[in-house]
């Protein structure tokens, strides 16, 4: 029973109530995780009539998508040839629709900080991820550190909102054409698993930017990406499962207060036959009961 309800129902003075019923910090009673948002309420309630109307609108698009899938199935003409040195573009900026695939988040969304970020189009038709970072911690007694902005693509899906994975097995490099401001950013590749412990599996690598008026094309081999969950690097590392990609993101949060801006032209993939490294981090067996505890 919740403490306040307990007081109201039993109608006792607060001083008599067991002090242990009041928690000053969030309590995790079980290992099981209830929802994949980690307790952040992002749902908006839409009335049922409105929902039906929206659903019918969606239906049209979904059927269109489904038709395309069926057609592709029949054609069965997948890309088979590895074309070294050629970049396949996954996400390109330039139109308003291209921005629809991205979600922008920052710590101020849930009153956990004061950073603000946005993803817009520049005058030259590129994506501009910009905003203001602030490491100021709100005085709520819970938040320890703050200061991040993040962009993330929507989860890969098939028609009728069926979730699926991106398959990048044919590639071994991530190619980004960006123009930064000298800050370093984090490239995140989410590989969400089925069980709750795997929900927050994200592979990271740093994107260093040069700054200045010149565009840079950065190629990051997938072997360099390291595994972390909920922002903590994991002791047991595994190479990234390239057939289980759920989303891609870039985050800014280098603990430097001030404005940031990262112009993005495209995010692409490449196969480089000269890169043979499978995983950049040591895979030796660590002593028992020391790691991953």
């Amino acid at each position: 029973m919740y403490p306040l309800r307990y007081i109201l129902l039993v109608n006792r003075r607060i001083s008599y109530v067991n002090k242990n019923l009041f928690h000053t910090s969030s309590v995790l009673h079980t290992f099981w995780e209830r929802d994949d948002k980690g307790g952040y309420n992002t749902k908006t309630s839409v009335p049922i009539k409105e929902r039906m109307r929206l659903g019918l609108q969606e239906l049209k698009k979904e059927i269109e998508l489904w038709k395309k899938e069926i057609k592709e199935d029949f054609e069965s003409d997948p890309v088979l040839a590895f074309r070294p040195g050629e970049t396949d573009i996954m996400w390109k900026f330039g139109t308003e629709e291209s921005l629809q695939q991205w979600v922008v988040t920052s710590d101020s969304d849930h009153n956990e900080g004061y950073s603000k970020g946005s993803l817009t189009l520049t005058n030259t038709g590129k994506g501009l991820f910009s905003g203001e970072l602030s490491t100021k911690v709100p005085k709520d007694g819970r938040t320890k550190r703050a200061g991040y902005c993040n962009i993330k693509t929507l989860r890969a899906r098939k028609s009728f909102k069926r979730e699926t994975y991106l398959d990048w097995n044919n590639y071994n490099m991530l190619v980004l054409k960006v123009r930064g401001d000298g800050r370093s950013y984090m490239v995140n590749i989410a590989t969400r698993g089925y069980y709750d412990v795997l929900w927050n599996d994200i592979y990271h690598f740093v994107l260093w930017t040069r700054g200045g008026p010149y565009w840079q094309i950065t190629k990051i081999p997938f072997s360099k990406f390291f595994l972390s969950s909920k922002g903590r690097i994991q002791d047991k590392q595994y190479p990234i499962p390239l057939n289980k990609i759920t989303s891609f993101g870039i985050s800014a949060g280098d603990k430097v207060n001030g404005p940031f801006s990262l112009e993005i032209d495209y995010v692409g993939l490449e196969f480089d036959p000269n890169h043979t490294e499978e995983f950049a981090y040591e895979m030796y067996k660590a002593p028992k009961y020391i790691v991953a505890v």
């Binding site: 200045g212 010149y214 207060n257």
Partner: protein, 388 residues
Amino acid sequence: MLPSKIIRMVVASRSITECLKVMPLTNRNLSVSTVKLCDTSEESKQVTLYRSFEDIKDKNKDTYLDMIRIFLNRDYVYRRGHVEFIYAALKNMESFGVHKDLEVYKSLIDVLPKGKFIPTNMFQVEFMHYPKQQQCIIDLLEQMEDNGVMPDYEMEDLLRNIFGNKGFPLRKYWRMMYWMPKFKNASPWLLPNPLPSDVLELAKLAIHQICSVDVQTQITVYQSRDIEDSIDDTWIVSAQSPIQRSLLRDHDVKQPVYVEGAFRVWLKSNQVNYFVLRADPKPLKTVQEDSDDVSNIKVPFMFNIKPPIKKHLQLSTSVHTQEDGVILALCATGTSSKDSLLSWIRHLEMDGNPTLADVPIVFTLKSGVKEVATVIDNEQNKEVETSK
């Protein structure tokens, strides 16, 4: 009741109240702690001086280390309140300017007793023997991580002597020593650590970093006072490569060039403003050929004796020909003022760019990052200045 008896009772009760008043003091004086025995001032009653870090006027590394020494010397045998002291010390590191100092972190860990917290059986290990103390040192290590301070092997010995071979802080240390060196020097644009505090040196570093696209770039530091009629007296870090010089030489004098800025570049936590001299973009003319179209195949050998058609040949573009503008030069000035930029243009003109004397130069100094290299039609923002 006899009056004398009543009087006696009153006296007795008074003496009791007097006693009660005195009691707390005597109680204090009977305390076991040696510290509390010797002085009775308000501060000494606390186990730890919580606000003592804030009270110090002269905040530097020496006074910070002095605070640790004071804590250590207060009680040598029955020292208490390590955790509270370390947390209070961690909170005040930045104001003392020691948050990036490994030595200070080590001396903070050294506050803890050696041997006392070492678990003696596996259950103690598993259930985090002395959890407050272990968590405190984990938090300290995390603060080090946040501030980019890499531990050394001496710290490993310290942690081993305090928490034993299986302590959680030691595990955290090992993780740090695995991951931090991997990324310490991984940046393709490495900067000196610590960064110089001089603004000129920072500007040089920033311009050098930006111009790493063209290794031939020459970075020159001009003085604005060398130009006649200049108001400002400041330095100008200018960068131009031979390719950019030739691009400017071949520039059509009827077309304007733009001085744009200030744009921001970050060097760790420092920002440097820079300005760009650029010309309008020159889009590359690409001839799209439909390879499936077989109606008109060109056969190069059979009936064609003439040399290849010249219009198909193009000059290859350099890195300076960006799709939103041709970058002709870069600079950062001490004042970032319009006058200093005028001096920069004059310096460039004397330094091998005579074209700048004839080319109209547009100063668009208010544009933000969103307008990095777009021609702004707004007349209010630009001010056409033809040289001479």
